[in-house]
């Protein structure tokens, strides 16, 4: 074993978080807390490392396989370590009618990557409708939502990151 999964501080947060989540479900249905538990793990670690999955399985009294089955079904979960910034660009119909394909190209050039390729810094992805159809085009960076995007706006947002 190299590094421990959590710092003692994080472990406390994780344990308390799971304990609170379990109160939301019947006592014989602990595994129902799977989505929020995985979210908690990912919030603390940035992804879902195998050691963490084991802890989730144990606390929810289920199998590691169940954890992975769920984690791989939902696109927001990262069973593989993603780049520092996950950029999800909506390219569904309404956004495409307002320049989303151009936005995606702009980002590919600017970030020097291709949609779907996971890199150390950027993980640029084509996403599906983000409920900003009327404020298109839009994207989310590490779950922060940005809408009514223009080149100038994108430049300003990216400026603050990297």
């Amino acid at each position: 074993m190299s590094e421990p999964l959590f710092t003692p501080e994080e472990q406390k947060k994780f344990d308390a978080g799971i304990a609170e989540l379990l109160t939301h479900y019947p006592s014989d249905r602990k595994s129902a807390a799977m989505l929020p538990a995985l979210r908690l793990l990912q919030t603390l670690r940035g992804w879902l490392p195998p050691e963490g999955m084991k802890q989730v399985a144990q606390k929810l009294e289920t199998t590691v396989e169940h954890c992975y089955e769920v984690a791989t079904f939902y696109v927001m979960f990262h069973p593989e370590k993603p780049g520092k910034y996950v950029v999800d660009v909506c390219t569904s119909l309404s956004c495409s009618l307002r320049g989303a394909e151009g936005l995606l190209k702009y980002l590919e050039t600017k970030l020097g990557t291709h949609a779907g390729t996971n890199g150390e810094q950027w993980y640029l992805r084509e996403a599906e409708c983000l409920a900003s159809c009327h404020t298109a085009p839009c994207f989310q960076i590490n779950e922060d939502h940005h809408e009514n995007l223009t080149k100038a706006k994108v430049d300003a947002i990216l400026e603050k990151l990297s």
Partner: protein, 445 residues
């Protein structure tokens, strides 16, 4: 002309601090719940029936009737659950997020009313995972309601326990389908269940469950404020109340608007209060009236009220209120490709026609769009989509859930109504719109 003169659902959205319990209560918040808790649960359901409230999640199902399918406690002693559907993911739809962001206590007051009527002591509000900000607003409101003694062991001081939890999804459109939502609430991947049994009898943890959309539940406090007759009278035909609709695409003023059920699709697109029409020189080529799964309409089909039953003759649907406008310079093949690519991506993979058919249709459509297709490809496209769900009418799908239909209907509607554009791609061996397939607002600047 029919423009809504008095907002009902969105009337308080602009008030500063409306998302806080303090401001919500200062303006009469939770007073209607107090009233409802004095009523017999069955009387509450009767009032909801009388109000003609219909589900805003897509199908327009009468809400009171849905509630009445939950068996009585004598017949079924299991606990019952309310699930609120805040998954809002159908392309074109962006309304529920504003209720969560601007007026979360309106939803929570409605939640308590519905739980009282149903005899439910637990409600799960399932919000799509991408709703970081709306979910934070909702979490804060839930915490306030607990701290104030509204929720918890004693619902507003009454001897009735009510717990309300938010569950956040993690990026899967299919979890908006009610039985997939239930699976997800149970901590599983979102695989829809075969119906029957319906959730009203076998839902969350095998218990009777009602799944309702955010806007549906948020309408309840209004119904009890001014009465079921008033609410029914606001509407048109058998659809009570007003509607939140989102208009996107090629209009001057895209946005989320509250409209009367008597407002027509045409008025929504052209009135200055709403979409504001198209830019000078452009005209409507196509409009999707109820989220991208609703069969596309031609400009001459736009004289239809934004009411649930009115769309029947058009073989389309009012759906989730997502209106998407395409102008005369947009490529219909490209628009269809983007539309069905979504359903191919989001198929849960459980049934063969949907798992195999949606990606197949998407590939054919792409080949056609690139000018590499043949006339036979157009027919194959139609045949595959008919095997998933023949249209018209709506509702003949062969799959476990309606996501099959959602991808298949747009194909048939687009190809039938714009066949010439598909054939032009074949004849010219390229997209006639060249590098500009997206129409008047399609460039990124």
């Amino acid at each position: 002309m029919s423009v809504l003169t008095e907002k009902v659902m969105s009337r308080d959205w602009a008030r500063p601090g409306q998302n806080t319990l303090k401001v919500y209560k200062e303006h009469g918040g939770y007073q209607q719940l107090k009233k409802v808790l004095e009523m017999k649960p069955s009387d509450v359901t009767d009032q909801v029936k009388k109000s003609n409230l219909r589900g805003r999640g897509g199908a327009g199902f009468p809400t009171g009737l849905k509630w009445s399918f939950v068996p009585s406690l004598e017949k079924n002693t299991k606990p019952r659950y309310l699930c609120v559907n805040a998954d809002e993911s159908e392309p074109g739809t962006a309304k529920d997020r504003y209720i969560l962001e601007n007026d979360p206590h309106l939803l929570l007051e409605g939640v308590a009313m519905a739980c009282w009527a149903l005899g439910a002591h637990t409600c799960y509000i399932y919000a799509r995972g991408e709703f970081k900000y709306p979910s934070a607003r909702l979490d804060a409101a839930i915490a306030e309601a607990y701290a104030d003694g509204i929720f918890g062991k004693k619902l507003m001081g009454k001897d009735y326990e009510l717990n309300v939890y938010q569950v956040r999804g993690a990026g899967a459109y299919i979890c908006g389908e009610e039985t997939a939502l239930i699976e997800s609430v149970e901590g599983k991947k979102g695989w829809p269940r075969l119906k029957p049994p319906f959730p009203a009898v076998v839902g969350v943890f095998g218990c009777p469950t009602v799944v309702n959309n955010v806007e549906t539940i948020a309408a309840l406090p209004r119904i009890f404020e001014k009465g079921a007759e008033w609410f029914a009278g606001l509407g048109a035909g058998k659809s009570g109340g007003t509607r939140l609709v989102t208009i996107s695409g090629a209009v001057v003023k895209p946005g989320t608007y509250e409209v009367s059920m008597n407002t027509s699709l045409k008025e929504l697109v052209f009135e200055k209060e709403y979409g504001g029409g198209l830019p000078e020189g452009r005209s409507v080529k196509a409009v999707i009236p109820g989220g991208s799964s609703a069969p596309v309409l031609l400009p001459e089909e736009m004289d239809v009220k934004l009411e649930f039953d009115a769309f029947k003759p058009t073989n389309s649907m009012a759906g989730s209120g997502g209106v998407i406008v395409m102008d005369d310079t947009a490529c219909m093949v490209r628009c269809l490709w983007r539309t069905i690519r979504f359903y191919a991506e989001e198929s849960c993979g459980q049934c063969t026609p949907c798992r195999e058919g949606q990606p197949w249709m998407t590939r054919i459509c792409r080949v056609l769009e690139e000018g590499k297709g043949t006339m036979e490809d157009i027919d194959t496209l139609l045949n595959v989509s008919r095997a998933i769900a023949p249209w018209p009418p709506i509702g003949l799908g062969t799959t476990i859930c309606a996501l099959g239909d959602a991808g298949a209907l747009p194909v048939q509607a687009f190809v039938t109504k714009f066949r010439k554009e598909f054939e032009d791609h074949v004849h010219q061996k390229r997209c006639p719109y060249g590098d500009h397939p997206w129409g008047v607002f399609g460039e990124f600047n």
